[in-house]
């Protein structure tokens, strides 16, 4: 224990506790450009460059990059567009694929060294994406059904008895127009934030735990590992001292069987009194 180096030994390190300034790159435009902003720019640049480069010279038999781009597009068109929206979902394939690629690239930032956080772990970004998508959703719905029919579809639950409608319509309205975009964005945000949070708990918590365990003075004074609160042993817990003389008739081997160890530990007189 004495050999371990205390990371907090020389006072609090400069990164502890985390500050608001940690969100900003040093030397950048202070209140406007955060690390998240830069990561979003990088993600946008990656997505645009990838599709532009892989489709700059399209061939009938695709190369590797074109194959990858076509596979992603095909997933966005068929896996999301047609399968979930229906046959008319093909119209939205470009939007869905852009959204898919953008979110995927941003999420991958969460496991890249030196980034280690996805921009989607910032609630503003899923909320913005959900807002854009929801405006599109409502707009398309109103275009297709007309405003009144659309509101009827969105707020009147099918098959409910008429006398319950005044009670149920506000709920459907709230659910479909406010809660659902909110939960959809929270789902993305919470997943990415939880990943980052676990990472942070393990690294920072690991440092703190290591530092809490290492106190060279205490470790040198006492060799037991009984629990301590603020450096003191709780009252009523006695010390087990391994160098203490054993009771008559008890060999060390027997003394260390579990039942005996328990008795030995809690009935032993401290070595100073012996």
């Amino acid at each position: 224990m004495n050999g371990q180096v205390s990371l907090l030994a020389e006072g609090t390190p400069h990164w502890w506790p985390p500050k608001v300034e940690d969100f900003f790159l040093p030397g950048w435009i202070y209140p406007w450009v955060t690390k998240f902003t830069v990561m979003v720019w990088i993600a946008v640049a990656i997505v645009i460059l990838f599709y532009v480069v892989s489709y700059r010279n399209p061939k009938l038999v695709p190369g590797k990059a074109q194959w990858l781009a076509e596979t992603i597009y095909s997933f966005g068109r068929d896996g999301i567009g047609t399968d979930i929206i229906g046959p008319e979902g093909v119209r939205f394939a470009p939007y869905l694929t852009s959204l898919l690629s953008f979110i995927a690239v941003m999420n991958i930032f969460g496991i890249l060294p030196f980034f280690q956080i996805a921009p989607t772990a910032h609630i503003a970004i899923p909320v913005a994406l959900a807002a854009v998508t929801y405006v599109l959703y409502v707009w398309v719905g109103v275009q297709k059904h007309g405003f009144l029919k659309f509101m009827k579809l969105m707020t009147i639950p099918a098959g409910a008895p008429g006398f319950m409608l005044p009670l149920l319509i506000p709920l459907e309205f709230l659910q479909n127009f406010i809660i659902r975009p909110f939960t959809l964005s929270v789902r993305l945000f919470a997943n990415m934030f939880a990943g980052h949070f676990i990472l942070l708990v393990f690294t920072l918590g690991g440092f703190l735990l290591l530092n809490a365990a290492v106190d060279p003075g205490l470790a040198a004074r006492d060799r037991d590992h009984l629990p301590r609160i603020a450096g003191r042993r709780p009252a009523g817990v006695r010390v087990r001292d391994p160098d203490r003389r054993l009771p008559a008739g008890l060999t060390r081997r027997r003394a260390l069987t579990s039942a005996n160890r328990f008795r030995y530990k809690f009935t032993a007189t401290p070595v100073s009194a012996a």
């Binding site: 076509e70 639950p157 506000p170 709230l174 659910q175 809660i179 659902r180 789902r187």
Partner: protein
């Protein structure tokens, strides 16, 4: 491509997470809306928390009803 050979049409099934979040959304919206109405009634009539309790329970019941309508067998 392989993806093109799948039969077209709607899948018609929700993922388990979708169902869970929809149920959560109905419960929250029920309790939030009718709880809020109950809070307003509390302020209006000067009752201390009776109407908000009634509103929350009513909202939860309506939310469960809608969950059963939408997702139940």
């Amino acid at each position: 491509m392989a993806g093109d050979q799948q039969p077209p049409g709607r899948r018609g099934e929700w993922s388990a997470a979708d169902i869970g979040w929809t149920a959560l959304g109905y419960l929250i919206s029920g309790m939030a809306f009718w709880g809020f109405v109950g809070w307003l009634v509390d302020h209006w009539l000067g009752t201390r928390g009776i109407a908000i309790g009634v509103g929350c329970i009513l909202g939860a019941a309506l939310g469960i009803y809608l969950v059963m309508r939408r997702l139940g067998a």
